[in-house]
């Protein structure tokens, strides 16, 4: 089952190399734009987190499938001091 064809591939052409460089550069810009957009969403996201934790305590959190468990107040996680990060 081992993949062997890939080991026999011809050397990458100049046009393929140029294509890669162009698109890697564009992807870097796209990534930066996504990070900026997600940073701007932070205040709204903070409200969503709050609502989510309220739901977990009232209707419950899904443990598996539709099985839910209400979490107790002492289980509610505390916001750490570090900046919240959603894009890595």
């Amino acid at each position: 089952m081992a993949k062997r064809v890939q080991d026999k591939k011809p050397k990458r052409s100049k046009s393929a190399m140029a294509w890669l460089e162009e698109n890697i550069a564009e992807q870097k810009l796209r990534y930066k734009a996504i990070v900026k957009e997600m940073d701007e969403l932070a205040p709204t996201r903070a409200r969503w987190y709050k609502e989510f934790l309220e739901i977990c305590q009232t209707r419950g959190t899904n443990v598996t499938g539709d099985m839910r468990r209400k979490i107790a107040k002492h289980e509610v996680p505390k916001k750490p001091k570090r900046k919240d990060r959603v894009v890595y």
């Binding site: 089952m1 993949k3 062997r4 064809v5 890939q6 026999k8 591939k9 011809p10 990458r12 052409s13 046009s15 393929a16 294509w19 890669l20 698109n23 890697i24 564009e26 992807q27 796209r30 990534y31 996504i34 997600m38 969403l41 709204t44 996201r45 969503w48 987190y49 989510f52 934790l53 739901i55 977990c56 209707r59 419950g60 959190t61 899904n62 443990v63 598996t64 499938g65 539709d66 839910r68 979490i71 996680p77 916001k79 750490p80 570090r82 919240d84 990060r85 959603v86 894009v87 890595y88």
Partner: protein, 313 residues
């Protein structure tokens, strides 16, 4: 660094570009994600009216999903919903599209490549080839393919399964008013393209029609909602396991440690064998959810440790 975390990305307002690589002239593309080391990529491609090319092969595994239009491939005609997995080195017939077509095109091992040939490479694993219409020929089934499971209302059609990595390719749908109130992450990369409809995740907001993500392992996503439902094309790069929790602030590193803690508890023999070979956390990794699990009698027993001594008062 492989592919970066691209989430969310809505491609509909982005322009197509000419794809001038050998075998793709007469088509245009957008990159959805690209592995900066290998060139492996997911593209949205438009085969323009009159696109034609001769039979040939790629040195990469290739997957194709038809979003709109028709493509003739050898003797087959691939229309909306057609899915194909073409193993590296397998020759496919001449391709053409009289009226044009729009597809998702994925190269799993390298940048797009094409070499004219009407014969398979002698090392091609042709038995892995799949060609089917996912809309017509595959049934919807429960999304509960693993435990812990997604909520009811998430349905999937399995299109491809890799027996070595357990990577899967699938269609999934969320029914209207779908909700799942937990946060999830996986050991695998996960990818999705929204064919139609909108879903919502607590970290990223709405993902509408044309929305896409490539998400590396151990990154929080969810809770989940879909007001009017959606249908999407999805893939993983290895076995998927749903790690659910309710800590919105856990980091990727903490999630990874928690997954290792799961392994310690749930596959103790495997954990011990892996941990004994060099690196180790002899008493189990940190788990932000169950900070003191190391002292649990059953967990200690699983790892061959004696029970905690009973302290006399």
């Amino acid at each position: 660094m492989a592919r970066p975390h691209i989430e969310p990305y809505v491609e509909l307002n982005q322009p197509f570009k000419k794809l001038d690589l050998n075998g793709f002239k007469g088509s245009e593309y957008k990159v959805l994600s690209l592995d900066v080391d290998t060139g492996a990529c997911t593209l949205k491609v438009q085969f323009k009216n009159g696109f034609k090319r001769n039979p040939g092969l790629s040195y990469s595994d290739m997957e194709l999903f038809v979003l709109e239009g028709r493509v003739k491939v050898g003797k087959e005609t691939w229309g909306r919903g057609h899915y194909a997995f073409i193993p590296a080195g397998m020759a496919i017939g001449a391709m053409s599209s009289a009226q044009g077509a729009e597809v998702l095109l994925m190269f799993n091992d390298s940048e797009p490549s094409f070499y004219e040939s009407d014969k398979n490479h002698q090392l091609a694993l042709t038995q892995a080839h799949v060609s089917m219409n996912s809309y017509l020929d595959a049934p919807w089934t429960s999304g509960a393919i693993v435990q812990p499971a997604a909520s009811n209302g998430c349905m999937i059609k399995l299109l491809h399964y890799d027996p070595l990595s357990e990577a899967i390719t699938f269609l999934y749908t969320l029914t209207p008013e779908f909700m799942q109130d937990n946060i999830s992450y996986h050991d695998c990369c996960e990818e999705s393209y929204h064919i139609w409809g909108t879903s919502w995740m607590m970290q990223f907001g709405d993902l509408p029609t044309g929305g896409y993500f490539w998400r590396p392992p151990y990154i929080n996503h969810g809770s989940f909602r879909s007001k009017r439902g959606c249908i999407a094309f999805g893939r993983t790069d290895s076995k998927i396991h749903n790690y659910f929790h309710f800590n919105p602030w856990s980091s990727q590193a903490e999630n990874m440690a928690r997954s290792a803690a799961h392994l310690y508890r749930q596959r103790p023999m495997m954990y011990d064998w892996v941990a004994s070979d060099g690196h180790n956390h002899p008493h189990g990794p940190e788990d932000f959810e169950h900070a003191h699990y190391h002292d649990d009698a059953q967990i200690r027993h699983l790892h061959g440790h004696p029970p905690s001594p009973i302290k006399s008062k």
